[in-house]
Amino acid sequence: MSSLQSQDYIRISAATITPPSVRRHEDEVAKLIDVTRCIGCKACQAACMEWNNLRNDIGYFEGSYDNPMDLDPATWTLMRFTEWDNPKTGDLEWLIRKDGCMHCEDPGCLKACPAPGAIVQYANGIVDFISEHCIGCGYCVKGCPFNIPRISKVDHKSYKCTLCSDRVTVGMEPACVKACPTGAILFGSKKDMSDWAGERIKDLKSRGFENAGLYDPAGVSGTHVMYVLHHADQPSIYANLPENPRISPTVEFWKGLIKPFALAGIAASVVVGFLHWVVAGPNEVQPEDEEEAEHFKKEVEEAHARAISDKPA
């Protein structure tokens, strides 16, 4: 996606400056994916391709409803199908999860990104990749707790769902939301979506799904894409949805303390060197060193000469 001037940034990757933010009244948005109403038709996948003009290469049938088998630079959302034996009821449940960027409130990709302005977060919560600034290093892949970004082998840019930031900025809902025939995907303010999810969960609980709940993980300070799950107590049964996603401590450390410490340490080593130069000064060879060396050399040569002349004939 290109940069959208009509949306305010609240975070910019690899930048220490405060992003411009005059329009502070923007509502935080959210996409609510109600897994319990999804019929797996893939209209959202088709709509995503159509709106974003993505055309993947034709692949091969792999014996799975998942098509393609994984996210890639031209597949920003993907229906993941899981057949799950419910041990309590003995029922076979067909769990279908629409996978894609979760638009974390605390985005690991943005934290890891080394290129200024290549990843931004708008005031409405959408996390967007600004392709012209992307250097293709793959740090966002390591930063992401959900394994979402994919780097193109062709143009060396990272791609993922934009939450249709270009549509949202002109007051439209994301393409997947518009295409969904069952209302399983909804879009609105985060508050409205959470309220609506609450009603759905109440309804599900009344129908026997006692563990129904909202997936809005606190480990990343919440997400701007949320799921209603019938089994919110075990998100991993939905094609390995992380139980408690958070930015990896390894990434936190790498992008945290060691940056200033490393630069300060390197600067300090240069300063110490300079101080040593000023205090002790250069270590120069003195004339007497040359004399002593010359003297030693002569001695050795004389000894050799003596040894040769002493040699019995």
Partner: protein, 224 residues
């Protein structure tokens, strides 16, 4: 290369070329690596054309450095083996730093500081190579898990910082000990330089009639 008649060869031509290829690679790696490490230094990626070019060039320069440093190891490992002299030298480090070398225990071709630089790099460069391959996204992104790559990134960064600190020591020592720079540009040192800083090396060269950099092994010394 012209040099005074009684000067000693510290580094032959092949060593010097090898060293400066390594040095060029190291500086380029440091600039490109730091630009991707801390956003404050991202502007240094412009030296390579753009961030994309920096990202693409860094691992290839690294491979050249690995090959080049392997050449340094082949040429230098023997004279960098740890000896008892090195401990004595280290214990006198305060006098070394104060330029009072007259009272410092004598050393051969390399002192403990030089050996430390040599072996540190010999350890850090393979670490940087292996972790670097794991995070070379274009070719190797599917070779290891993302969790492994996260650790590799952290180890790569920390090893690089250590290498840069050692590089600062190395460069400063070359500036500080006058005559060392010429030993790596023109290749020779004066007898007084060898006497002052590497007296055991000097003695070995003179007693075997060698011009450097190593004592002659077959000496036609008179039989006793």
């Amino acid at each position: 290369m012209t040099r005074p008649k009684d000067s000693l060869i510290r580094n032959p031509t092949i060593t010097r070329i090898n060293h400066w290829i390594t040095a060029t690679c190291f500086v380029l790696l440091m600039l490109s690596g730091l630009s991707m490490f801390d956003p404050l230094l991202f502007w240094m990626s412009n030296l390579f054309g753009s961030g994309q070019w920096t990202r693409a060039a860094h691992p290839w320069i690294g491979l050249v450095l690995v090959i080049s440093y392997a050449g340094m190891i082949v040429q230098f490992w023997r004279d960098n083996l740890w000896t008892r002299d090195d401990l004595a030298w280290l214990l006198a480090i305060d006098r070394v730093l104060a330029n009072e070398e007259e009272s410092v225990p004598q050393v051969a071709r390399f002192n403990a500081g030089q050996k430390f630089v040599f072996w540190s790099m010999a350890f850090l460069i393979p670490v940087l190579l292996f972790t670097g391959i794991l995070i070379w996204d274009y070719y190797f992104e599917s070779f290891s898990s993302i969790e492994t790559q996260r650790a590799a990134l952290l180890i790569h960064s920390m090893a690089a910082i250590a290498a840069i600190l050692i590089w600062v020591i190395h460069v400063y020592a070359a500036i500080w000990v006058r005559g060392s720079m010429r030993a790596m540009t023109q290749g020779y040192v004066t007898p007084g330089w060898a006497w002052r800083h590497h007296r055991k090396w000097f003695r070995a060269l003179v007693s075997t009639g060698s011009q450097g950099p190593t004592p002659r092994t077959s000496v036609d010394e008179p039989r006793k």
